[in-house]
């Protein structure tokens, strides 16, 4: 029922607004970009090395769930402030054994375009390779991937139509004089205590209350409902080339901080091997700045053990406006980092070696006992 409703909303948005741009009377300033919105027909010609507007990403999700029917399904998560549907893709190989969940979200900040590009790349890589690639294949034996390609849909669209450097959501405040909440300050963890602003005009506005925004509500509700099974929470941002562990709201460290750093550092090393890009690893309060209400901190504090923020390329040269020519390299190296994290997570919970050891030990003990009983 929900997907049907969602699809109806989707059609409702696409049809009257043509290509999905805001129907504001004054023509918003749009740059003459060298590209026009190409109506592509099939997934085979979808370009993973260019940036896509939201309507194309919606279409892409539908096509993914159609092409990979048994494994990839599209699910409704909630509505944005401007009543657009939020969808995530669930990648799951049907099986009898219970699965743990890897959550990945992109585009919580509208202007960080490389992040949604990576989410799409990630989905493509998993789905194109899980059958042939044993490393990825084994993940799908025990893990489900939940990927939210664009969390802040209203903001993302706004960066396409009006202001490329918009960051927040598009919720209206102060009688319509002020717009947007920083969704990554809106989660219910040390809400608005530090590194956030109570002033709607600021870009780190924490909202009118914890989880005040519909987007945050949608993610919170869902992740909370599945938290027993989520082992890994990855939230993708740009820029800065960082792998951040909890916390931002305090310099105190999480109980598994050492492990998180170790895993993170291993991921950064794997990333660097690909194209030589340097990433730094550390807690957000240590190497970035203090923040409160972030999704990563919230996820850790509700019990999800591996919670990371990735700040993707670059280091400030182009910043948010990363050239599309760098999408491929960025995605390839980030893929290595994420796979490295998944390796570690997988080995921690389903290490086949230790399982084997347990089995052989059990066999040995059994034999010993039977010998003893004979004697």
């Amino acid at each position: 029922m929900k997907p049907l409703l969602g699809t109806l909303y989707l059609l409702g948005i696409l049809v009257p607004e043509g290509l999905g741009y805001d129907g504001s009377p004054a023509q918003p300033r749009r740059e003459v970009v060298g590209e026009t919105v190409r109506p592509w027909r099939s997934l085979d010609t979808y370009s993973y090395t260019s940036y896509h507007p939201m309507e194309e990403i919606y279409q892409w999700m539908i096509q993914i769930s159609e092409k990979y029917k048994g494994v990839a399904t599209m699910h409704f998560l909630g509505m944005t402030y401007e009543t657009r549907p939020m969808y995530y893709l669930k990648i799951s190989q049907p099986s009898n054994n219970p699965k743990k969940i890897i959550w990945m979200d992109c585009g919580i900040h509208a202007r960080e375009w490389i992040a949604p590009a990576f989410c799409q790349w990630f989905v493509k890589e998993i789905l194109q390779n899980y059958e042939d690639n044993p490393r990825i294949g084994r993940f799908l034996r025990n893990l489900d991937f939940y990927v939210l390609p664009v969390l802040n849909i209203d903001g993302y669209i706004y960066t396409w139509t009006t202001d490329r450097l918009w960051r927040k959501s598009r919720s209206s405040h102060n009688n319509g004089t002020c717009f947007g909440t920083d969704l990554n300050r809106n989660f219910n963890v040390a809400w608005c205590k530090t590194g956030a602003s109570e002033n709607c005009h600021n870009l780190t506005f924490c909202g009118t209350g914890p989880v005040s925004e519909p987007e945050t509500k949608a993610v919170s509700r869902f992740v909370e409902s599945k938290k027993e099974n989520i082992v890994c929470f990855l939230t993708m941002h740009s820029y800065g080339q960082l792998i951040l562990t909890p916390y931002g709201y305090t310099k105190n460290k999480s109980s598994n901080h050492e492990e998180l750093i170790q895993v993170g550092q291993k991921a950064a090393n794997a990333l660097k091997k690909k194209h030589g890009t340097n990433y730094r690893v550390g807690s957000s309060a240590d190497i970035l700045y203090t923040t409160s209400g972030s999704s990563r901190d919230w996820a850790r504090d509700i019990g999800i053990p591996f919670s990371y923020t990735f700040e993707l390329r670059d280091n400030g040269t182009y910043g948010f406006v990363l050239p599309a020519s760098q999408i491929q390299a960025t995605c390839e190296e980030t893929m290595e980092a994420v796979l490295s994290v998944l390796d570690d997570v997988y080995e921690k919970y389903w290490d086949s070696d230790s399982a084997g050891k347990v089995t052989s030990t059990a066999v040995g003990l059994g034999l010993l006992v039977s010998f003893m009983s004979i004697l």
Binding site: E31, E35, L165, A196, N199, H201, L203, Y289, N315, V321
Partner: protein, 457 residues
């Protein structure tokens, strides 16, 4: 690549001096220091006083007397014989005081202007201005005259909640040198004298027990502060080098040390590596810099002395600049661009030199605006207002969007620069503060014509 040992490599040094001696600055300044060079311990390269050369009028290059050729080889290259006897150093001016000296000179006089400074730093009682001055933390309304300093002035903890009304500060010491009056300064003088004797390099500063943070050693330093200092130093270096083909970015901080005085001014000594800005071949070309950066407690324009090994041989750099210049002269005006890069990060190759030149001009602005809590990146050129090459120089008027950390704000700045290869860059700018209902919008402006600065010394 080449030998990266600084002792064997050619280096350039640029520095800028104590605040208060420059006329164009708007902020209330304490008594200006006498511009005598101070020798401090350590690795500082070279100190000389400045030459008082006449400032060329905007756009009119003035040939220099050949006796000054060794100081300004590029000018000589332009106006006279091709072979230059330029030495390996370019020294502009010097003035980064040792911490002890400053304290003695300023401890009393500082008090009077301190409350003024604090008010200015605090900005309006509420809202955006306060937060911006307080470097992007919690932007609760400030009590009048209360400092928004976080627990350690050198530490990047911009999120510390400033006290609101009667409530005690959260995780914060009492505001520095507030209504305490002369007593704290007197209490601090004695240990400070001791410190001055022991020298800056050895001693942690700010001994007074009442003050929050002692001198921070390497282990305690938040990595952010060293990065911050490196960025400021590099912006300043890029600006002074004045060469759009030799711009540098930070690669990594190798080592660093910070000390703080009771005025919450922060001195950072550091060594870091740099790389070419956006190298075309994708290779690493590491250079090395050492710098002393003096952050003036959230006031802009950190004092900087920076020395960097040369990445490109001087003649080659001049050649590349001149090629860029010729290329720019050939661009069709008016330029038919909306923004650079476009939303997809694409810059037409023919327009790339504009981006580089804009970055050069923005470097000046970003240097001036950097404090120990705020730093900047150039996000996008949002408009090109004027592009003129009628005279010899490139006259470039544009609006750039600066991304401010850690407020995440986008600051539009209108910049007007004049550039000729080998000549010091002339920059004027005007940055917009985003208006909010609660406060009057503020503006920030400044300008630099380097020879004028020299004249002030």
């Amino acid at each position: 690549m080449q030998d990266t040992d600084p002792r064997n490599q050619v280096s350039d040094t640029f520095s800028t001096g104590v605040p208060g001696s420059k006329s164009q600055r708007k902020s209330p300044e304490p008594t200006p220091e006498p511009p005598s060079p101070t020798v401090t311990r350590g690795w500082r390269v070279q100190l000389t006083t400045t030459a008082s050369s006449p400032a060329p009028a905007l756009g009119r290059p003035v040939p220099l007397p050949t006796s000054l050729c060794h100081r300004y080889p590029p000018q000589c290259w332009l106006s006279s014989a091709p072979s230059s006897t330029a030495p390996n150093f370019i020294v502009w001016e010097t003035e980064v005081p040792s911490l002890g000296e400053r304290k003695q000179a300023r401890s009393e006089t500082q008090r009077i202007s301190k409350s003024k400074q604090r008010q200015r730093a605090a900005g309006s009682p509420t809202g955006l201005g306060a937060g911006r001055r307080a470097a992007a933390g919690k932007l609760r309304p400030l009590g009048g005259g209360v400092s928004t300093a976080p627990s350690s002035p050198c530490q990047r903890s911009p999120g510390q909640t400033p006290p609101a009304g009667p409530a005690p500060p959260r995780r914060q010491p009492p505001p520095a040198s507030g209504p305490g009056g002369p007593r704290p300064a007197v209490l601090l003088l004695a240990p400070l004298l001791l410190l001055a004797l022991r020298g800056v390099a050895a001693a942690p500063a700010a001994a007074g027990g009442r003050e929050d943070s002692p001198g921070l050693q390497d282990a305690e330093l938040p990595r952010g502060l060293l990065q911050q200092a490196a960025r400021a130093a590099l912006h300043f270096f890029n600006f002074r080098a004045g060469s759009p083909s030799a711009l540098r970015v930070l690669a990594a901080v190798l080592e660093g040390r910070a000390t703080v005085n009771p005025k919450k001014e922060c001195q950072v000594d550091l060594v870091f590596t740099t790389d070419h800005y956006d190298p075309e071949d994708g290779e690493e070309h590491l250079g090395k810099c050492s710098a002393r950066v003096f952050f003036r407690n959230q006031k802009p324009r950190p004092a900087i002395n920076v020395t960097c090994t040369r990445l490109i041989e001087k003649n080659k750099r001049q050649q590349e600049d001149y090629l860029l210049y010729k290329h720019m002269k050939q661009l069709k005006t008016p330029l038919d661009v909306v923004s650079i890069p476009d939303s997809h990060g694409h810059i037409d190759p023919s327009l790339k030199p504009i981006w580089d030149l804009a970055f050069l001009g923005s470097s000046y602005v970003m240097w001036e605006k950097t404090t120990q809590f705020l730093h900047y990146y150039m996000a996008q050129i949002s408009s090109v207002n004027q592009w003129r090459t009628n005279d010899d120089a490139i006259d470039f008027d544009y609006t750039v969007l600066l991304h401010e950390f850690s407020t995440q704000e986008i600051i539009p700045c209108r910049i007007h620069l004049v550039w000729y290869p080998g000549k010091p860059l002339k920059v004027k700018y005007y940055c917009q503060e985003l208006p909010t209902p609660e406060e009057a919008s503020g503006t920030e402006e400044g300008s630099a014509v380097v020879p004028t600065e020299l004249n002030n010394f």
